[in-house]
């Protein structure tokens, strides 16, 4: 059975792997065909732009979540973090408008605050998981509650609205396009490419997979496990911050209802894309497709009458469970092969 082979060094791509990569893509194509056959408007330019723009928020956050999950962690706080960052951004921008009047600088100031908050919040999650050695699920469940509660407190139970002057300057970030592609989609594309390169072409990505696969092996292989894990949470915070930056100009407001359940949608996108929840195997490309699939489902339900729009969550739920079942199936096949 052990055939001596020097070809072992040649990176031959197995058919099985290819199929696994293509799985989510095939699902998306099927969904597009389904959507088009139910309502040809689905493939109209306006609708495609709409789907892409809407999937940008979850997609950007999910790219960050891909790293956290691949390294064996989980971040439940992203939805609350987005609401918190949005709230603080609006507060500081309104303050700046009061103090100096609205200008481009107001918006840049708000964006700067958002980036700092995102990185800081990510660092706190990472620090507590690695240095205080508290499970990621518990740490981020805690910070999730804290951020959600803080934004409710800042808004005094109501809504924080961006001052009109700043809103006019900030508005194009969500509503305008470059080469007919809206800015949020550009940000999504940019984040996805950087994410893909980080995961597949840098030592950092390899370290994430190694840690998620077996933390002991990673430590014995001279990898600074705590540092890499913390970096994944910081990256996640940064992604949340970017998503928030393009989200705030959409409505110009933030409330306790902002970003509710985003963490679950982001995790769902990651899982549908083929990343394993227990870590060790991450696919940024799959995550992007996962985010598109989730948005497309909602969109199709909006465009057709067959299933009530209110069942959006149910359809998404079925898709998530089915995706994980299929992943398991291929895992089981792999294990059978391993048994010899």
């Amino acid at each position: 059975m052990s055939v001596s082979t020097h070809e072992a060094a040649k990176p031959a791509k197995g058919l099985r792997i290819d199929f696994k990569t293509l799985g989510p893509l095939l699902a998306l194509i099927l969904l597009v065909i389904l959507g088009y056959s139910l309502n040809p408007l689905f493939l109209g330019e306006g609708n495609i732009t709409n789907i892409l723009t809407r999937s940008a928020f979850i997609g950007i956050i999910a790219v960050g979540a891909t790293f956290v999950i691949t390294a064996g962690g989980i971040d439940l706080s992203v939805g609350s973090m987005a609401a918190f960052i949005a709230g603080v951004m609006i507060i500081v921008m309104n303050w700046a408008v009061d103090a100096m009047g609205a200008s481009l600088w107001t918006v840049l100031f708000g964006i700067g605050c958002s980036l700092i908050l995102g990185v800081g919040a990510g660092f706190i999650n990472g620090f507590l998981t690695t240095k205080a050695k508290i499970e990621a699920f518990i740490v981020t469940l805690g910070t999730m509650g804290i951020y959600r509660s803080l934004v409710t407190y800042f808004a005094d139970g109501g809504t924080l609205s961006l001052a009109n002057g700043a809103r006019d300057i900030y508005r194009p970030v969500y509503y305008d396009s470059f080469l007919r592609i809206p800015y949020p989609v550009w940000v999504f594309i940019f984040v996805a490419i950087i994410g893909w390169v980080l995961m597949n072409r840098t030592a950092f990505g390899r370290y994430c997979m190694a840690i998620g696969s077996n933390e002991h092996v990673a430590r014995y292989s001279a990898i600074k496990v705590d540092r890499v894990k913390t970096a994944t949470y910081i990256l996640q915070g940064l992604c949340v911050s970017l998503a928030t930056i393009i989200y705030v100009p959409r409505l110009g407001s933030a409330s306790a209802a902002t970003g509710v359940l985003w963490e679950l949608e982001a995790i769902a996108a990651v899982i549908i894309g083929g990343t394993m929840l227990k870590g060790g195997f991450g696919r940024v490309g799959g995550t992007v497709i996962g985010a598109l699939i989730l948005t497309a489902i909602g969109n199709i339900l909006n465009l057709t009458e067959i299933i009530s729009n209110y069942l959006n969550g149910a359809v998404q739920g079925v898709i998530i469970v089915a995706a994980v079942y299929l992943q398991r199936g291929s895992l089981r096949a792999g294990r059978k092969k391993a048994a010899e």
Binding site: M1, T5, H6, E7, A12, S213, H216
Partner: protein, 513 residues
Amino acid sequence: MSDAQGSAEAAVLSAHRISKSFGEIPVLFSIDFDIKPGEVHAIIGENGAGKSTLIKILSGIESPTSGTIHYDGKAVTLPPNGEAEAMGIVLIHQELNLAEHLTVADSIFLGRELKKYGFLDLAEMRRRSAAVLDTLHVHVDPDARINELSVADKQMVEIAKAISRDARVLIMDEPTAVLSVGETETLFEQIRRLTARGVAVIFISHKLDEIMDLADRVTVLRDGQLIATVPTEAMTPDSIAQMMVGRELSNLYPPKHEPDVDAPIVLSVRGLQAPGVKDISFDLRRGEILGFAGLIGSGRTAVAEAVAGLNHKTAGEVSMNGKPANFSDVAKSVAAGLAYMTKDRKGRGLLLNMGLQPNLTLLTLKKHLKGGFLDQNSEAQALERAVRRFDIRARDASVRVGQLSGGNQQKLMLGKTMESEPDIIIMDEPTRGIDVGTKQQIYHIIAALAAEGKSIILISSEMQEVIGLSHRVLVMREGRLAGKLEGAEIVEAEIMRYAAGIKQGGDDERINA
């Protein structure tokens, strides 16, 4: 061919013309095998010979591609997923299959709990567990948690579990791989007690002396083929080894080249203290193989991990080439040219669900960066070099490391360690659970490394290995250095005396020498 004497009427379990393929790859070719009540039947073969597959088929975990299995003379299809246990065929895995947080009694009755009025009858289960443990002369508290037990005791719990299920055929996959000499002796007594009661025992081992000691018959497999089934008394360890590898096994250990008398000291440890380590001092010279002998748990790994920066030391000084070398993490020790190769290749050494290439380069990934990005060509070249240098054999490039045989995993781990081009290599049990052919290869690699000026600390629980390779031997006992042996003093009896505490320390200045 050798099945003729295996008279089918007496056999409790027998396999006829069993073949097995995984997809396209055949792993067993028409194997005949049988075992009688009260018999110990050993299966031996190099890694990848098909031993594990055979016992999985015999216990129903895998189904054969062709061939039949007879149980009590009747042709049967064994149920999958270990359900054959209910029929009296129990497989004890090498890794042991116990839930770490359950108690001993919970574990023994797992899956067939005793109930009273619909609730667990804890008292009765405890009482019966104690009774089973008692008949086995095992001194384990039924209320103890599994994770508090030693590996040897866990194994005893597995055996108790099997006995309490009225096992008639007990199949053990390398039960002694993780046991010390004393523990192995206890296990063998246990097995003899079971066979006296008519239980049939099949066991896999790489240790020829154990097989000679325990087995009535031995079946030799090579490359999925049945080579022979023979009574043990007709064999010698040498003749078995020859059947296994299919060639004359000479020079298991390469000749020793003593390092120069004036070879510089490359590693010096003084007064090292760490958890499980009490005041250890020693020197390692350039080109030297320094053996660390001792019982399992005597603190040898703890010394290595403290030196390599994997564990904190509480006191003591380490220096390399005269410069302080008190490493606080692995990255620093690797950068300084000291590499530690763990004994736990599955849990600490390799990423089993990944391919060969990412495993090989994980320790030294920085070497394969070009402009900040991974250069996969350079990684592929490294793998090609390592495959050639260490004779790593894989079915194809896409296999996960977990699918490789133990020997190939070990060689891959050696390759990974050597990627960091260390001057000092600490090898912890470098041949644990691998076949004699691969062992020989690894011995020659170790000797060659020393000959080219690398310095090696060899931690091993296999006495013969330490004796066959080391220039000097340190014996540890309960976290301390119990003795130091050199030249002609390096013999098994002497090491054993120190390891078991019959002989103490000797003169201190020699230990520190």
